[in-house]
């Protein structure tokens, strides 16, 4: 049965939540939303109803957060709690109803990003864990992992450096590039720490979109069938091997269950 990280919210019946919760995590600019755009039709082709959702999209708090960020005046505890409010709103009003209806919920970031950003800003990990402990444990967490050197060109040639994504609130005296580098390096280190703590499935996000997409498909297929995850942080050689064999295995199994579902 579905679990939370400890606290169960009022009126939440975990036994009813029969859908699947898949989290795509990763730092800014790593390609999460691109992958989700590809994953959604792929899942739908297989007959899954999909809800895709992400941080900062709730009805309640999204506008307030945006306004507050524009003013750059939020304290770090306040910002964290604002995001937690937003997350709770999304959890109760989007994710839970979808899981109750048997959907596959694909979420662009989850509590891990919220916690990582706050920890990098100096907040207490134990406090943050408690604050977010009402969150549902996902069926799988895919962490798109990238080194800061691979990340920089992607960011420069897409959206450019953003004030918050560069941690300018943390390093106000630096230029955006230096600040981005420092901030993202700290963030990535934090994600790596969490990968072990929260049992992420780590996917190397440095190859091209297609390759990352394939790896995600393999992992998601497994998660949806309730199969065990790939070993965490497997060395590069065995990882590739395991993934290749997993790929064919999943593809054939998928065809057997749903003829014509795979492209």
């Amino acid at each position: 049965m579905r679990e939370t990280y400890s606290v169960i919210l009022p009126k939440m019946n975990l036994a009813e939540l029969t859908g699947r919760l898949i989290v795509i995590e990763g730092t800014d600019g790593v390609g999460r939303s691109t992958q989700i755009k590809l994953l959604r039709p792929w899942l739908e082709q297989q007959g899954h109803a999909v809800l895709d959702t992400g941080i900062k999209r709730s009805q309640l708090a999204a506008r307030g957060i945006q306004q507050a960020k524009e003013g750059h005046t939020l304290g770090r505890i306040t910002l964290s709690l604002f995001y937690a409010t937003d997350f709770a709103d999304r959890l109760e009003n989007e994710i839970v109803p979808a899981l109750r209806a048997g959907f596959v919920v694909l979420t662009d970031r989850y509590i891990y990003s919220l916690m990582a950003r706050a920890i990098v800003r100096g907040l207490d990990p134990a406090w943050l864990h408690n604050v977010h402990s009402f969150a549902l444990k996902p069926d799988a967490i895919f962490y798109l992992r990238i080194g800061v050197d691979d990340l920089i060109p992607r960011v420069v040639f897409s959206s450019g450096f953003d004030y918050w994504e560069s941690g300018m609130d943390l390093y106000p005296s630096e230029d955006m590039y230096e600040s981005f580098r420092k901030y993202q390096t700290a963030l990535l280190a934090q994600f790596d720490k969490m990968a072990q703590e929260y049992d992420f499935t780590v996917i190397d996000a440095s190859p091209d979109i297609r390759t990352v997409f394939e790896r995600l498909r393999v992992g998601i297929s497994r998660a949806l069938k309730g199969e065990p995850r790939e070993p965490l942080f497997a060395g590069p050689v065995p990882e590739v091997g395991a993934q290749d064999s997993g790929n064919t295995e999943v593809a054939s199994a998928g065809k057997a269950n749903r003829p014509g579902a795979e492209n």
Partner: protein, 213 residues
């Protein structure tokens, strides 16, 4: 900091304390529950559209409190001011738990709050408080009456039931947080004398800023 259910007279007492501290030459500042300009819009929207659940109700109030703590209360305390809070974290502890949130979770949520120098709880029987409140106004608001809990369809009846539960939570917190209890049925003057005595004893460290009243 003062706590108590609506109609306990805590705000009146705090106002009187404010006057006195000012006349004594302390730098005094008020900080009210739910007053951060930054978060206010969101809270108001959520309440107006009745889109708050116990979880979001709890978290949005914690956000508001954090903003006040980080931008208002802490800097003022560092500067040596006396900060007077009309309601503090105990209001959240009472309301959120009555709404079904986990007791321990709520307490840890507010782990960043500064421990108050003096914490007064104005104890009043439910009926007295109800009478004071309902006489003074035309009706109670949705969340104030705890209508979101579905206790009763009649707002006044729901308010009564809700405040009764809040009162129970407060009673449990007196020993837990060592709250100083004031009998709120006593004459106003008498309550104020008690308050001033206790505050005076605790204010040895605060700076007298000699601000002209």
């Amino acid at each position: 900091m003062v706590e108590g259910i609506d109609g306990s007279g805590k705000s009146t007492q705090l106002m009187l304390l404010h006057q006195w501290l000012q006349s004594e030459g302390y730098g005094v500042v008020f900080s009210e529950w739910n007053s951060s300009p930054l978060v206010r819009d969101t809270t108001r929207r959520g309440k107006k559209k009745q889109m708050l659940t116990p979880a979001t109700f709890s978290l949005i109030h914690a956000t508001d409190f954090a903003d006040r703590m980080e931008h208002n209360i802490l800097p003022l305390l560092k500067a040596g001011a006396v900060v007077l809070c009309d309601r503090y974290i105990y209001t959240a502890f009472a309301r959120d738990v009555v709404r079904g949130m986990d007791r321990k979770w709520v307490r840890e949520l507010y782990g960043f709050a500064v421990k108050p120098t003096a914490a007064f709880y104005f104890r009043v029987p439910l009926d007295v408080a109800m009478k004071r409140i309902l006489e003074g106004r035309s009706g109670v608001k949705y969340y104030e009456a705890g209508m979101d809990l579905g206790l009763n369809e009649d707002p006044e009846e729901s308010f009564h039931l809700f405040q009764g539960k809040i009162l129970e939570e407060y009673e449990n917190m007196i020993p837990e947080f060592d709250l100083t209890t004031v009998d709120a049925t006593l004459p106003i003057e008498e309550q104020q004398v008690q308050m001033r005595q206790i505050v005076k004893a605790k204010l040895t460290q605060a700076k007298r800023l000699r601000v002209a009243p």
